[in-house]
Subunit: 150 residues, 10 copies
């Protein structure tokens, strides 16, 4: 079974069992965004955690080594996302991406926010005019650095 | 002169004058991400603020009404960004977009993070293993709500 | 079974049973556009309604939790629709989209029509020179509003 | 001067003169959506009306025959619109397009809503939880009809 | 079974049975271009005709309601056709499409040739230097007409 | 001046002079579809005819050799046309292209309709329920023929 | 079984049986490029030849009528080929396509090399600095010729 | 002036002066396909030859160093060519590309036809049923060879 | 079974058996990058080596002739890679590709680095500020050389 | 003047002055790949170095602040490069990208080669069968590391 097929099984099994992503994350003591992303096929899951999750979801144990392997990443079915919930983040990049780039350079110099030494947090914050979704992208600054092995 | 041509003039004039985005934002007393995004052509700039900025940058006053009009938004030159600093945010969507969607639904129910009732913050946070770029997307939760005018 | 596979089953079962979309909507006491869109895989269907529909269509009860989950939305098979009935709406956007944008801004200020706090209505209206299809897109105006959680 | 260049001039002149689209429409006694769309390059403008508009906007009279000619239509700069105000309509097509198609067929039979014998209306409607943008697409139903000239 | 799967069965069954498109069209007393297009999945086939065709082709009777439903139209596997026989028509659009547009406007005014009130004819015409394929697109002229339901 | 720039000049000059495509065609005694297509940049125009046309349109004589050269053909600004008048022909290909292919093969055998040994005709034909646009694509049948120079 | 599925079977069977394309071509006494292209799904194969090939490859006789039908042509899986052996021909078009066009026009006048009245030859030619692949595209010149059926 | 601008000048100047590609090639004693391709911006032209050509075409001598530099190659304006004369070669790749690949491997083993150690020839060959365009792609066979510098 | 299906089996079997790519490469005494690429479907694997690998992985012997045949190459699922590990190489091309081209021309003259007479090496090199990935692309220089078979 | 316009000036001026990239790099004492890439618009050039280069190339001093600013990176004119010299690197990614990914994971664990803490080297290495282009991509290994600012 390929990783994509396992991801499909996970999605269906989670709904059938009525498990939340938080419960799955708690079971392996990992952050919930990381766990969800991993179960959606974007991160390798260490074998022990994979066994726990596979047990909770009632999948076949034989999928563990595939879950534990580094996957081919990239989870959007189209280059420009069509799902409205995901699209809003793409739209934010269209409108604010240039500004974010300019300000990273103004505050840090030439370089990028790492998407590897990185974490994401999704939070629900109350506000008088309605709850807010606060998503934090938190990555190490990596300055452009022309270095060679020797 | 079109908004695009004015944006090009702003970019060149800012560098020639040696002004920071923060100085431009302070001059009109607006958040710096908003100001930068607006100067990059993504938001209308109220006429009074536009006049201040146009003065600082040495542009022609005739551009003010164009700056004050709602622009055609969308600032990425290609659907998939090629600039590495901007690309990392697109990559984060590829890897974490599905998980963010699932968790918004798990925590809030069916709906989206608004990209209109919305703000972005770019912060530099120290960390023992190197400064971090922390970018916060903060939007009102909008539940799917089947409503009609009457 | 994935949501896509369930949608295929729904389409075939509806035709085999000779049910109209209106009958399906009436059975769960929901607007017909909403119901049709949901059965086409674009909205979660509350479990109780899902059970009713699954019964009418003769599908397996095990699909209920998948129908009740928020789906990955986006129902057009290509970025530019090829089906003539759907294409005409895309064409209307090509010809009138710019004008609609300008007039939303002229009447309401800077902002958008929400597609989330939103309803669609399809009506048949008589006219001396032939019946007319009147489709109403009705969404809450959302002004651009730079707000943060605190 | 090409139609595209004239459209650019119209956009800038309108802002410089501080004219609303409604004022321009009133001056030629035409619906405002039609007028705006026409001034954005999507419809021919009868020569007399064109002369009135050209006068109000201070453009050169020589552009009148170009405005009066049928233009090459299609006003979106990219196949999938990036501007958020326009995008919401595209998103509505992604989510509700399939349902609209099914219901046109259920209510009218096989055929389409004409986008040629057609009008669009943009209205502001009050609502307790906030004003609503109500956009009506109103086109003649055209049944699929296999007809030949003789 | 989906319409696409039925179309595949039709294609194979027709070849296995050695039936011509003309024979299938004659059996239901419909024009041959219409019949072929319908059997290729582009038109609904009235139930009675569908039963006749299904019988001739030896398919299962259960496909009749799917054949009788309005299909999702659009039969080219890629946006630009790769098959040489079909490509030549696309090429003709590239070379003559602009001229056809200009002449429709010159002869009829602003509007289009309907592709809905429409028929196509494929004819073999002799010519001293070799037989000719004469394909006629025959559609009602639809003038741009700004009409509303009331 | 490139052919594209000359085409732009022709378009504007024709409107300014109030010349019809038919008048231009008559002046050089050529079919009107051919002439229009050629003036839109899709065919070389023999020098003598070019001189006549350049004279009528008031262009500079120096463009004649460029008009007389074989152009880089292909007149649609996007792979899928956005102009509604042209789009209908593309739509007809989506809906009837497969059927046309099948019937060319059924009537002629394996091969194509030439788009080179070819003519197009645009006609206005009366019909009780409204005038019809009848466009005839007329090309020599070319059978697939595996031939080599020697 | 569709033509695509048959092609997959042919590819696997040929390798399992250890047959060369030349042997298959010799068995039906046809040129090897034509035979290979036909077996890859790009040409109809006359029933008798198809039976011979099907026998050699050990396929089911029922595929013969599908092989004998004119296929939907177009064998590249992506618009720009990714396989290096095929890509080099695409690259040659990028670098020399413009020149080939100019020289066809200079030597023959306005027109094309037919890809229908056409043959291809692949030859191995010795050369002091290494064997050469010599691929000849040989098509009848077709002059642009505005002809109609009557 | 960029190479692209110089190419445009060359194209116009050649037509204005009435020079053939063959005459230009003869003047620098190079093959005509190579010369044409180089003048279309696909090859560097040695300074001495460039000076000769620039003289014949009446261009400014300052373009010589740009002509002598290696250009950014790739001469098709779209990934899939729209010009019919060039398209036929792309079509031949769609229909015969797979076969050519298989036969190169059958005759030579794993590897490619070089497009660098390569020449193209365009010939006019008589044939009883009409002159033929014979285009020969002639490239050194390069076997896949896993070699490292040391 | 097609090569793609075999590749999927190899990927799963390798993980299930806990074999490293290095072990597989050692077993057939080939470089590890070559072996991995071949097992991912990008190179033919000589029958004897294929048999060894098939044995280690527990696949069916019948796949050997397919593994031994030259595959259709091209291993990226999208034209622009989405996997971050692979994307970085694409990004390096975006940022340094132009410079690499200029320097190959400056140091070697007009030509290319062969990707056929070519090897790749992946090395882990220590560095005070962290281990480095050093990937070497090593290809024979091929000068543009206009040569014909005779 | 925009960075793109300055890049064009640099390219032309370098050729007109007959300067090599190496000479430009030596003048500012920087690696030649870095310098070339920066002059092609992919890196900011410190003001002092920029002044030196601008002097050598005879450009206007006013371009210095633009050269010193962080540019919008991404130097390929199309997503898939068409220039053969650059394409070979893209092809190498198609053929070896999957293998490189697998081996980075096998040797280093889950993570990427940084393209920011990174250098590229282009070397000419002699080899008995012809000089080789050896391009080394050398980037710091970045392990996937779920870290947050606090």
């Amino acid at each position: 079974m390929t990783r994509e097929e396992i991801t499909q099984q996970i999605l269906t099994a989670r709904l059938a069992k009525g498990l939340t992503w938080q419960q799955l994350a708690d079971a392996i003591d990992k952050p919930v965004v990381w766990t969800t992303s991993a179960l959606l096929g974007q991160h390798p899951i260490p074998a022990e955690s994979a066994r726990t999750l596979v047990g909770m979801l009632g999948l076949d144990e034989s999928v563990v080594p595939v879950l534990a392997a580094v996957p081919m990443r990239g989870g959007l079915p189209t280059a420009v996302p069509t799902d409205p919930t995901i699209y809003r983040f793409y739209e934010a990049l269209q409108v604010y991406g240039g500004a974010i780039k300019e300000l990273i350079h103004e505050e840090f110099g030439d370089g990028i926010m790492s998407a590897i030494n990185f974490s994401v947090n999704v939070e629900k914050k109350p506000h008088p005019s309605g709850d807010r979704v606060v998503v934090t992208f938190d990555g190490k600054f990596l300055p452009y650095d022309w270095t060679a092995a020797d």
